[in-house]
Symmetry: C2
Subunit: 598 residues, 2 copies
Amino acid sequence: MSFIVNRRDLDFLLFECLGIESLFETARYEGLDRAMIAGMFDMAEAIATETYLPWAATLDAHEPRFVDGRVEIMSEVGEALTAYADAGFFAAGIDRDLGGLQLPYVVTMAINGMFTAANLGIANYSFLTIANANLIAAFGSAEQKQLFLPPMLEGQWFGTMCLSEPQAGSSLSDIRTRAELQGDGSYHITGNKMWISGGDHEIAENIVHLVLARTPDAPPGVKGISLFIVPKYRVSPDGSIGARNGVELAGLNHKMGHRGTTNCLLNFGEKGETVGYLVGEPCKGLSYMFHMMNEARIGVGHASAMSALAGFLYSLNYARTRTQGRSTKDKSPLTPQVPIVDHADVRRMLMAQKAAVEGAQALSCFCALLVDQQKASRDAAERDELGLLLDLLTPVAKSWPSEHCLEANKWAIQVLGGYGYTRDYPVERLYRDNRLNHIHEGTFGIQAIDLLGRKVRMQDGAAMDLLLRRIGATIALAHDGDDFAAEADALAGAVDALRRATDAVVQAADGETGLANATIYLDAFGHIVIAWLWLQQALAAAEALDQGSSDRAFYEGKVAAFRYFFRYELPLIHPRFELVRSLDTTCLDAGAEQFAGV
Amino acid sequence: MSFIVNRRDLDFLLFECLGIESLFETARYEGLDRAMIAGMFDMAEAIATETYLPWAATLDAHEPRFVDGRVEIMSEVGEALTAYADAGFFAAGIDRDLGGLQLPYVVTMAINGMFTAANLGIANYSFLTIANANLIAAFGSAEQKQLFLPPMLEGQWFGTMCLSEPQAGSSLSDIRTRAELQGDGSYHITGNKMWISGGDHEIAENIVHLVLARTPDAPPGVKGISLFIVPKYRVSPDGSIGARNGVELAGLNHKMGHRGTTNCLLNFGEKGETVGYLVGEPCKGLSYMFHMMNEARIGVGHASAMSALAGFLYSLNYARTRTQGRSTKDKSPLTPQVPIVDHADVRRMLMAQKAAVEGAQALSCFCALLVDQQKASRDAAERDELGLLLDLLTPVAKSWPSEHCLEANKWAIQVLGGYGYTRDYPVERLYRDNRLNHIHEGTFGIQAIDLLGRKVRMQDGAAMDLLLRRIGATIALAHDGDDFAAEADALAGAVDALRRATDAVVQAADGETGLANATIYLDAFGHIVIAWLWLQQALAAAEALDQGSSDRAFYEGKVAAFRYFFRYELPLIHPRFELVRSLDTTCLDAGAEQFAGV
């Protein structure tokens, strides 16, 4: 049993539910087929299992250290990343004309999910590099692409994203890092950047930082932010590595999880000239970043699902093999103890994990497929529609897993009991790792304001209409049979509650009041989307069962998890939407001095 | 601002809400007064702040190590415990005739809460010693009391509880450790014990283990378990320390949190004769343990509230001082950033913490007061009634905080954002520490079966009737005014839902089916109890406001948190009780092979 991927489930999701094979009929993805994808998955699973997974606990216990101005990291990290690079995974999602394999995002995400589940601390270095390369590929000049992309796609140079500063975390408008134009067209960069994952190390020959900064004449706020390429070592026009640039590691953050990945405070231009190169046009930096943000946010949600998947698979295996206690029907101490999977509450904890993990995976993959469909479509109207849906669902895809898959990790620990609380078992580490996903790439609260303050209102609610139409179609499909009619009704009722809550907020006279419960709204909105995706999974499973599939346990498990979600989770949205609809201001009204009375 | 206790709130809870001064009118607690208690609190706060708190992060980072058969622990641990001992806190709750101060449990719990909030890793050693001493005081022979209690009450010897074994965690009936009677009336103990907190160290001169074991002729199961005193060093009749007993440290567990407390695998009798002394009568060991269990379980719930209180106070202070972003009404980047406490969602996260922490504290203190009232009462019928209520509420007092105060710690991290995820701030440690409370002293699932399988059914539901009568009285009181009528109605509706769900389960033909959703029931049951305690707090706050108290912010904050709980949390019980009432078997029916389909 693998603890990093459930291949059977991945096949079900991608091919039986989402039908990603339809992508292969488009010009962009022609030439791909299911067997080829399976081969990629085989390779990824093997490399992740052999070179990532064995070091997960060790790397967590021996995090990178800042010694004499250098970062010391376990050598196995570099070796694992070399194996990843040798397999061509750095370039897997990049367009063919830039030297990549042009695989769909839904496929590269699934591949990278195995590395996340196996050893997040190592995997982060490659994910940041790929995100960076994607951005240069999209907005860099021909020269920048030629200079920086090839070594990144080969995994020789790594990349980072430098957004936050000590005084500007969620509030990017307050970025102060400065970029001053030089005579040769380059810029000098000065400032401090915070929370830079992979910000320094010696695993790669060079590190390509993408840095948000302001030119002296730029307008205040987000409209004055530009994007710069700032390499750790300067690069000659022939691509060879030159002198050290003035990017300096000021310190490492020591985190609760994600310990294998360096997280850095970087100083630019304090101890030496720091050369940077403008990407695209001045003052468009944030829009370039946001262009990549959908994928990055879907990726965070998916990473959360993967940490939870690893915990789920591990705790499932434990529950099947660990004996403890007896059935309520035969408590005699003379009978042997039973595997704990036989206890009702252990089953509940496993089912809660399955429902969250496989629901979240479905959400991530559905959103990734929207990215691919948008890229592949030749119809402008269709592209707009896909883009709208994607924009609407992105905050959900980022946030729902970060909340509910963290909860799944909590249950994985609980299944193992005291053992789960020790560092001898992976479940506590996975829980610690997963806690970050609530915070980075836009906190839960930020996503909520994005959804309720912006996305549901876009183009007079066009994105919402699109989503609800799609959900309505699935409900209608479910009503065609008898098996899921009750759940179809429940989902219709949930959609109705969503509509009423949304209307109340959109019509609220005061914007602040309307947004006061945005996080509650986001969470309940997510439940509806996940319920919808579970209904789709159940319909696909029912069809397979009807057709006499021999794989009955798998499909019956799908239907069971679907029922679990509808019975245990979906009903919770009603009090939540009621609260949102009432425009409750309990929290908003509380004065800062009231919380402790001191 | 203190980060380990909110003295204003503690006073409110103990004196204004619970009226613990009525205890001082009983013979058992006569001589105590409020000023004396305040003096104790002052001393506890000072010692906890000065000798415990400064080492919390260091001890977490430098956990005890097993080196050459010995345990190495930071010397500050022993020094802190000496300060605790010198203040007389080891003996604070012990009866006067045994050399203690005979303080009520509700007072010693509040004292110990400050040490928990300051540095749980150190505090655990004393708590285990006190629990151990309480048990010897209750069931030990005169000689055992004379021999073991004085050095424990002075903090020279420490104590442990040795229940679990590798094959018997939650299932105590499977304990195998053997005790064989010797000619001198002592026993030889052989076996392995697991998860023994404070199981070995050199902080104290001796360690007194209380060990569950079986005599050779004992019946199988829990009815054959006896309790033994097994000291690390043998003790001469004059109380002097003799030769090493055969209790041997086999290894330390390395945990996610609680890192400062050694957690041991102990071998008894493998490398040398291990002498033990029977406590009380043979085969009554478990009943002795369970006699102490109410207090131990309330204590775990309270510890959970204290970890969350520390996180709440820290994140509140952070939110008031950290500036980031701007109001939704003035987003201009030219205006200064605002303290994050001004953001609606930050207020929600603070209010969620306040509602959970202060609700849980009220529950712990209410239950501790029941313990004291039971001890102080001279009326047998009253004692029975208090005992019934206490038995019913114990699983709730253990479990509700372990779930919802862990959630509070999650929000404390979120308030600090990326900073909260680093080990430079205490909130992530408090979250890791708190995760254990879901597991030890009976898991959440075990408590749920205790509540729904046993406690609500006791004496034909007598305990439930008692609780619901008390809740009804508070509802009636709230109906006397206008301010809280809506909440009183909501609580009455919740009680009705509880009743119907309970009836459905109790009447279920099949016990396993009825218990399948016991954890959901326990959680929702807890919400009702907490709502009831919040209504009591609101009534007390309203009265103070009516009387023109100058402390308006404090009391208004109480009413705000009460409203928060009733609006955001209480309504969630309805779908949960609906589920329980429907006797849903989704989880129970899922086969072990269905979870992953592999």
